[in-house]
């Protein structure tokens, strides 16, 4: 699939029709998604109707927007009015939301075409997309391997060439880790940059919606569309987000890059080698590269796996069989609640709800939850200290390349370790991005992660673009 920017320019100029682009995307999906299972739902009729509307707007001399005719894959925890939104869970199977997520409205206004809703770990809890109630997604580069998760469907859709762009959500790495494993670009914005209205809540103080793309410039293009203040989300930032796409090619001359061993040394040697090569490439292009140790990051994983389940246990209390979703009938409400939740949630969701409930329960709150929140403060202060000497940090995104389906799904702690390099940015609310950088010893994609302080997305994309420009060949498609 062509780059989003190229498609939009061609559609706006009338050189290509949105219908033709959409038909090509749908043909790709029809051809190979039986094998990949990136999509839970393909919206062929809606997409074609939307494409025709775009073409009519162009014919009438209107500008349909910066994403005119660009096919997009939407993670299925983003609400679409009247269109099933499952969160990969049996408890929401068949539910049709009565409203659109703000990002869905923003995509529409920008002229994008939503091709379908993509697979995910149930309620975005997981790092492999194996926790979906509707079956796993497979890595397009090697179908015996996982695509990562939880936004594995959107990452795989972009990697397989089904769509140019995808949307995911990132609570502890759920955009960046699948991007790394699938060899695409995935970015988590600053907390509050993108409205969470209509994103089904997992851990509200950590969740953030962000873009997938094949190139850094496309990710920036989509980010600029999404980064708008929204009165419907009280955590939406009031200050405007400066355009990022216009400055991606400005280079890294003089930019201070901190290579962070705490985000590298625990990784597989082939992954670590790629990160150090990326650092050398940035130095060759004029960046001032130095080592910056942030040992506090080591505590992030434990803190996250208390905080996120605690928030989840509270957020998922709403699935009670009363207002929407599954109900398993029983003679009284409490029994109905329990029967519904027991039948509707999968094992990982139950584990996290239990972990969170335990961490918040009387007698354990201070030892686990309050302590984890203090670690959060410690990690944020550690970031502040690091950013006194450098402008951005560089590390790995995921500890390994894509692993085999079934490898870790029965060992929660091994699965959680996938998020060790991505979690610090969520705890601090900072932006971060994964950029493909060559391959591991198994020939599968490696992602290099760039981290930046809050609100510094323009700088983040610039450095990411420089990493991309220096990247050795990835996996051939």
């Amino acid at each position: 699939m062509s780059a989003a920017g190229e498609i939009a320019a061609a559609v706006r100029s009338g050189e290509r029709s949105a219908r033709q682009v959409t038909e090509e995307a749908l043909a790709e999906v029809a051809g190979r998604d039986g094998e990949i299972h990136a999509f839970l739902l393909v919206l062929a009729d809606d997409a074609l109707a939307r494409a025709d509307a775009i073409d009519q707007a162009v014919a009438a001399g209107h500008n349909p927007g910066p994403l005119a005719g660009v096919p997009v894959a939407l993670k299925d925890n983003l609400c679409t009015r009247g269109i099933p939104t499952t969160c990969g869970s049996k408890i929401l199977e068949g539910w049709r939301p009565p409203y659109d997520a703000t990002v869905v409205e923003l995509l529409r206004r920008a002229g994008a075409i939503v091709i379908g809703k993509t697979n995910l770990d149930e309620f975005a809890m997981g790092s492999s997309t194996e926790n979906s109630a509707f079956g796993p997604t497979r890595n397009p580069h090697c179908t015996s391997r996982v695509p990562g998760g939880s936004s594995g469907g959107s990452a795989a859709a972009v990697a397989a060439g089904f769509t140019s762009l995808g949307l995911g959500s990132d609570t502890g790495g759920s955009i960046r880790q699948p991007a790394a494993l699938c060899g695409v670009v995935g970015m988590k914005p600053t907390y509050g940059r993108v409205s969470r209205y209509g994103l089904v809540a997992f851990a509200s103080s950590l969740d953030q919606i962000g873009p997938f793309a094949n190139t850094v410039a496309d990710a920036a293009l989509l980010f600029d569309v999404l980064a708008q203040n929204d009165p419907l989300d009280s955590t939406s930032l009031a200050m405007p987000s400066p355009a990022t796409v216009s400055s991606v090619d400005e280079g890294v001359e003089g930019v201070r890059v901190g290579v962070c061993p705490d985000l590298i040394e625990g990784c597989a040697p082939d992954v670590a080698a790629r990160v150090y090569e990326a650092a050398e490439a940035l130095a060759a292009h004029g960046a001032k590269v130095e080592e910056v140790k942030v040992p506090e990051f080591a505590y992030g994983l434990s803190a996250y796996y208390i905080i996120a389940p605690a928030e989840a246990s509270s957020n998922l209390a709403r699935y009670d069989g009363v207002r929407y979703g599954l109900r398993v009938d029983a003679e009284d409400v409490a029994t109905m609640n329990t029967a519904t939740r027991t039948a509707g949630f999968g094992a990982e969701v139950k584990r996290r709800i239990m972990l969170g409930t335990y961490a918040l329960s009387a007698g354990y709150y201070d030892a686990y939850y309050a302590q984890a929140q203090r670690v959060r403060t410690m990690v944020m202060q550690a970031f502040d200290r690091a950013y006194m000497s450098v402008d951005v940090l560089l590390g790995a995104t995921a500890p390994t390349t894509a692993f085999a389906l079934g490898d870790k799904v029965n060992d929660p702690m091994a699965m959680y370790m996938n998020d060790v390099c991505t979690i610090p940015s969520n705890l601090a609310g900072h932006p971060a991005i994964s950029v493909p950088f060559g391959t591991g010893d198994d020939g599968l994609p490696v992602g290099v992660q760039v981290l930046a302080p809050a609100l510094q997305e323009a700088l983040l994309f610039r450095v990411a673009r420089a990493v991309e420009a220096a990247a050795p060949p990835g996996v051939s498609r």
Partner: protein, 105 residues
Amino acid sequence: MSSAGEAGHLSRDDVVHVAQLARLALTDEEIQLFGAQLSTVLDHAADVAALDLSHLTPTAHPIPVENVLRPDEVRPSLDRAEVLAAAPSVESDRFRVPRIGGEAP
């Protein structure tokens, strides 16, 4: 229940109690499996529990959260029919549920 000081190891009673709080019914097999798995995660958190962080203020949210107000204007809300159409059971424009607690049906 075990004290939080002895990190990790959830007893069978702990697991059953937490499941009840969370409105989940577990099989015997799940009680055993989840108990062991959750203990592993809590063991991992023991390194954090051991840190002296009493000088730090807990952070609940990455950005300062303020109350956001809007002008008190009448606006359309969600469509009632659309919302009720998603409910498992409805009666007279209300969500219908089975009897609550010990009340007579």
